[in-house]
């Protein structure tokens, strides 16, 4: 027997209409209108993207059309949970705000937060906060998965960092996907809005505890002279899939710096569009990921230099083993008014096995003449000479490979502390867990 909510990840119109009727907490006309526009946009774009769409060429999510998913409607379903031991990020001090299947779970979250910080569930904020409504992109302007998210608007969190202290505010946002009732995996549509003034740090952990699809959207606003440091760690169960569509807007002399670490989950797509909207805005993106045995990790970046003297750096590194696939699509777009801008991008893939796949598509669109813009991409294997050197010093083949993988990732791991001194250690530990859990598939020499 199926319940009326049982559906594929692609909702039928009836199931959406029923959700819109039943969702008592979000009945304002603004929300209702936004949802309708979201669904209209999603339909207009032809529904779930297929590989025929250029930006989805290497990441096929059409399987989600066939799979049965249940929208998550229940609230407050978890009273406690066991934090997966491989994720050491929570050892970094700071208040924690937990979303269970997209819904804010106050019973799992910190209540005490410092001056200058406001954290609210999205549905609560939508009732009172008029400014928030302009912080969301119009459904007409977003791609299909973000439009689908808009059709379900209501889940999620709003984090406002205020500028009235010089202190670095660190906030943890934890997204847990877990299936507590029913046999169908769940699909969630959280929306996270961050408005950063001053010196702000958001540590975002995605934890898969059971089969689920998270179709997340985030809007990151970096106000003038502010710094937003954003760490996104994706770990856990490979039956949990995540599609994140993020939009970051950086105002004058603002800095958005982000480190994305993916050591778990099944299919992951991190789509990030950054707009360096005003003069001297800056963005630094770092990514480290592992992909193996049917895991798929896609980082798709669009870096828009819209204003003069804006700077961007992107460095992504992937370690890919048998059956894994890594995708990197990076576009740097320098608009005519963005003179004196400087954009740089690099992606390197380390292929551990002949069955590993890496796809990299850099694109530079330069419409100003006084700019610097470069990109680089490589894919290679572990160096046999170096492996022999390490074994000739007594390291067994697996230890030697692990050391070389650590070395490969070192410039994004050791080099990136982002003002969080414990971050490199935590990152190394998460990578070690991945290394230890992967089955050796290589014959010794």
């Amino acid at each position: 027997m199926t319940t009326s909510f049982t559906n594929s990840a692609v909702p039928s119109e009836e199931s959406l209409l029923q959700f819109w009727r039943d969702d008592q907490a979000n009945q304002s006309s603004w929300v209702a209108d936004f949802r309708r526009r979201g669904y209209a946009r999603y339909s207009e774009l032809g529904g779930i993207p297929t590989p025929k769409i250029e930006s989805w060429k290497y990441t096929d999510i059409t399987r989600f059309k066939r799979a049965l998913y249940r929208p998550s409607i229940e609230r407050g379903i978890l009273s406690s949970f066991i934090w997966p031991s491989q994720d050491g990020l929570l050892t970094i001090p700071g208040p924690q705000f937990v979303l269970v299947n997209g819904r804010f779970a106050p019973q799992l979250s910190s209540s005490a937060f410092s001056d200058g910080l406001i954290v609210q569930s999205l549905e609560e904020a939508l009732r009172y906060d008029e400014d928030l409504k302009v912080r969301l992109l119009s459904p007409e302007k977003v791609p299909a998965m973000a439009a689908l998210n808009a059709a379900w608007l209501g889940e999620g969190l709003v984090v406002r960092f205020k500028a009235n202290t010089t202190e670095n505010h660190i906030v943890h946002v934890v997204l847990i996907s877990t299936n507590t009732i029913g046999k169908y995996p769940i699909v969630t549509h959280p929306c996270i809005v961050v408005i950063a003034e001053g010196h702000a740090t958001l540590i975002e952990s995605h934890v898969g505890l059971s089969a689920a699809l998270t179709n997340m959207v985030s809007y990151l606003h970096v106000e003038p002279n502010a710094t937003l440091t954003h760490v996104r760690a994706q770990s856990g169960f490979s039956e949990t899939h995540t599609i994140c569509s993020s939009t970051a807007t950086v105002a004058s002399r603002g800095l958005y710096q982000c480190f994305v670490l993916t050591t778990g989950l099944g299919l992951v797509r991190n789509e990030l569009a950054v707009t360096l909207a005003e003069a001297e805005a800056e963005c630094r993106l770092y990514g480290a990921y592992t992909a193996d045995s049917n895991r798929h990790v896609d980082n798709t970046i669009v870096m828009n230099h819209v204003a003069p003297a804006t700077t961007s750096r992107q460095i992504f590194k992937g370690v890919i083993d048998d059956g894994g696939r890594g995708v990197f699509q990076g576009r740097i777009s320098i608009h005519p008014e963005a003179q004196k801008s400087d954009g740089h991008q690099i992606h390197r893939a380390l292929l551990l096995s002949p069955g590993a796949e890496a796809y990299c598509k850099p694109e530079l669109e330069i419409s100003a003449d006084d700019v610097k813009c470069t990109h680089g991409a490589t894919a290679g294997e572990l160096d046999e000479e170096t492996l022999f050197y390490l074994r000739a010093r007594g390291l067994d083949a697996e230890t030697a490979r692990a050391l070389l993988i650590e070395s490969f990732l070192s410039d994004v791991v050791n080099g990136v502390s982002l003002g969080l001194p414990r971050l490199p250690d935590v990152t190394r530990a998460m990578i070690s867990v991945w290394l230890a859990g992967r089955v050796p598939k290589h014959e010794d020499f």
């Binding site: 160096d383 074994r391 390291l395 010794d444």
Partner: protein, 254 residues
């Protein structure tokens, strides 16, 4: 006491014969030098002993402390005391010399059933040994060999040898690319390790290194065979007359 015994060793790379019947025996307490022209097979011999993949031994044996060396993996060889100082040491970004060496020391200790070395003790030991080779703390903290000069890389090889205390150490053209000061430092590092418990095989093109590391025996390897063996005087003779007489004729110096 015989440390390593090579008998009639024939080996190919990609089907091309490189070693064509090498017979050589070293006892602990001895330093042997191997000299010979380019392409004679000197480096091949040392890499083959260390366990480098890609060589095919077509006949012959190598016994190491009574064991069949050719049946051992590279790491087993290292853990039982075989050490090769590389002619071209590799660079490993993001892994410091100290971290790398600690990993190696502990890998070898575990193999021998010992507990891991205490971090404080390790740090003290490595500083002490590095200082003798003119390497400062900064070099130990930097990524392994990244941005090191040729001389610094070779010193680093000797530091590793000093930390790992091998039973049989091979130096593959350690003198190449060294200025005279570095050469002296490297040689004194090697001499400090000479002991009745340890054997050395020093591979070099030039007699110069052997002025500082004085060998007990000198062998000439040419065309894949040891064509001549003698004492340290042989090296002087080679310096004066070149290798040509040895590649065509039988040896008369010993």
């Amino acid at each position: 006491m015989t440390c390593i015994e090579i008998r009639d060793l024939h080996a190919c790379i990609d089907g091309r014969p490189i070693l064509k019947g090498v017979t050589l025996s070293l006892s602990v307490g001895e330093v042997h030098a191997i000299m010979g022209p380019n392409g004679a097979g000197k480096s091949t011999l040392s890499h083959l002993i260390a366990g480098r993949p890609g060589y095919e031994v077509t006949s012959g044996t190598i016994r190491y402390d009574g064991r069949d060396l050719l049946a051992m993996t590279p790491e087993e060889r290292a853990c039982t005391g075989i050490f090769l100082a590389f002619q071209y040491p590799v660079e490993i970004p993001g892994v410091s010399t100290a971290t790398f060496l600690k990993t190696a020391v502990n890998a070898q200790r575990r193999f021998r059933g010992k507990t891991e070395i205490d971090a404080m003790q390790f740090s003290k030991l490595i500083k002490e040994k590095a200082e003798k080779l003119g390497m400062n703390n900064d070099m130990l903290r930097r990524s392994l060999n990244v941005g090191f000069s040729g001389g610094e890389k070779k010193r680093n090889e000797i530091l590793q040898m000093a930390m790992l205390e091998p039973r049989f150490a091979m130096l593959d053209e350690t003198d190449s690319g060294l200025d005279i000061d570095s050469l002296k430092i490297v040689a004194s590092g090697v001499n400090a390790l000479r002991s009745a418990e340890r054997a050395f095989l020093v591979i070099t093109h030039y007699q110069r290194l052997l002025e500082y590391i004085v060998p007990d025996y000198v062998h000439v390897l040419a065309e894949g065979r040891i064509v001549c063996s003698g004492n340290k005087e042989l090296a002087l003779e080679l310096e004066a007359g070149g290798y040509a007489p040895f590649t065509t004729h039988a040896c008369h110096a010993s």
